[in-house]
C-alpha cells in the first residue's frame, strides 16, 4: 500500500470542483480543506479533514465530477485509492463499505444542518426552498 502514498504540499490544489473523478484519498498525515464555490465563483471553506479521513470517494461511487475543491492546508500525505482498488475493497473488505456509509451520512447530516440554519436565517428565500428537487428521488438500486 505504501507505493500508493503521495504528498501534497501546503497550498497545493489536490483537485478542483467540476473535474472528472478518478480516485479517492485517505489522509495519512496532514490536513486538507474542502472548498465549495457559490454561483459567483467565491470559494469558501466547508470543512477540514485530517488523518484517516477519506475524500473524493463520491466520484468513485457515482462517477460524477468532483463536488468540491480540495486544497492541502499543510504538507499532507495521502493514500491514493484508484477505481480498481476501490472496487476491490468494496467487494472484499466488510469494514470499508460500512465506514464509507458512515462518512457519507456524516457529510449529509452536516449539509442538512447548514441548510436548516440558512433557512432559519433567511426567511425571505424560504419560498424558493419549499421543494428540494430530486432530493429523495434516488432509487436504491
Amino acid at each position: 500500500m505504501d507505493d500508493n502514498l503521495t504528498t501534497f504540499y501546503k497550498g497545493e490544489i489536490i483537485f478542483l470542483e467540476g473535474q472528472s473523478s478518478k480516485c479517492a484519498y485517505i489522509i495519512d498525515s496532514g490536513r486538507v480543506g474542502i472548498y465549495r464555490e457559490d454561483s459567483f465563483g467565491n470559494r469558501s471553506l466547508v470543512r477540514t479533514l485530517e488523518k484517516n479521513d477519506i475524500f473524493g470517494e463520491m466520484g468513485l461511487i457515482d462517477k460524477y465530477p468532483r463536488s468540491a475543491t480540495v486544497i492541502a492546508l499543510q504538507d499532507t500525505r495521502c493514500m491514493v485509492i484508484e477505481r480498481s482498488r476501490f472496487d476491490y475493497l468494496k467487494k472484499f473488505n466488510p469494514h470499508f463499505v460500512a465506514s464509507l456509509i458512515k462518512s457519507l451520512t456524516e457529510k449529509l447530516r452536516a449539509t442538512i444542518t447548514r441548510l436548516n440554519k440558512t433557512d432559519r436565517e433567511s426567511k425571505s428565500t424560504q419560498e424558493e426552498k419549499t421543494v428540494l428537487p430530486g432530493f429523495f428521488k434516488n432509487k436504491g438500486e
Binding site: 463499505v97 456509509i101 434516488n138 436504491g140 438500486e141
Partner: protein, 113 residues
C-alpha cells in the same frame, strides 16, 4: 425482513423522533416533509424501491424529516441487526446505499449555492 403496511395519511416517523431502523418502499407512495419556520415543506416523494430512514439507522441521530404515506403502502423494515448482518456477510449489498447517500449529498449541495 419485517413488512409493514400504512394507510393514506399515516405517519411512519416524525422529524426529531428517535431512529432505530430504515425502510424500503415495496408498494405505494410516501411524502417527505419538514417543518421550517412553522410551515410544512414537502421535500420529496418516495415510491417503489426507494429507501428512507437510513441515516438514522447508520448514525442513530434523530430523524431529519417526517414521512407520511400518501396512499395505501407497504414497506420492508431494515433493523439494526439486519443491517449489521448484511454489513458482515455481504458488504457489497450495501453499495446501492452508497449511491443513494452520494446522490443526496450532491442534491443538498446544489441547494446551498
Amino acid at each position: 425482513m419485517q413488512i409493514k403496511h400504512f394507510e393514506p395519511g399515516e405517519v411512519v416517523f416524525e422529524t426529531d423522533s428517535p431512529s432505530d431502523c430504515a425502510y424500503i418502499v415495496e408498494e405505494g407512495k410516501f411524502e417527505v416533509s419538514k417543518a421550517l419556520n412553522g410551515k410544512k415543506m414537502v421535500i420529496g416523494i418516495l415510491s417503489e424501491k426507494d429507501i428512507f430512514g437510513e441515516m438514522g439507522l447508520i448514525d442513530g441521530q434523530p430523524r431529519s424529516a417526517t414521512i407520511t404515506a400518501l396512499e395505501k403502502s407497504t414497506v420492508s423494515v431494515i433493523t439494526q441487526e439486519c443491517f449489521n448482518s448484511i454489513e458482515r456477510t455481504n458488504p457489497e449489498a450495501l453499495v446501492p446505499l452508497l449511491r443513494v447517500l452520494s446522490a443526496r449529498i450532491r442534491s443538498s449541495y446544489k441547494l446551498e449555492i
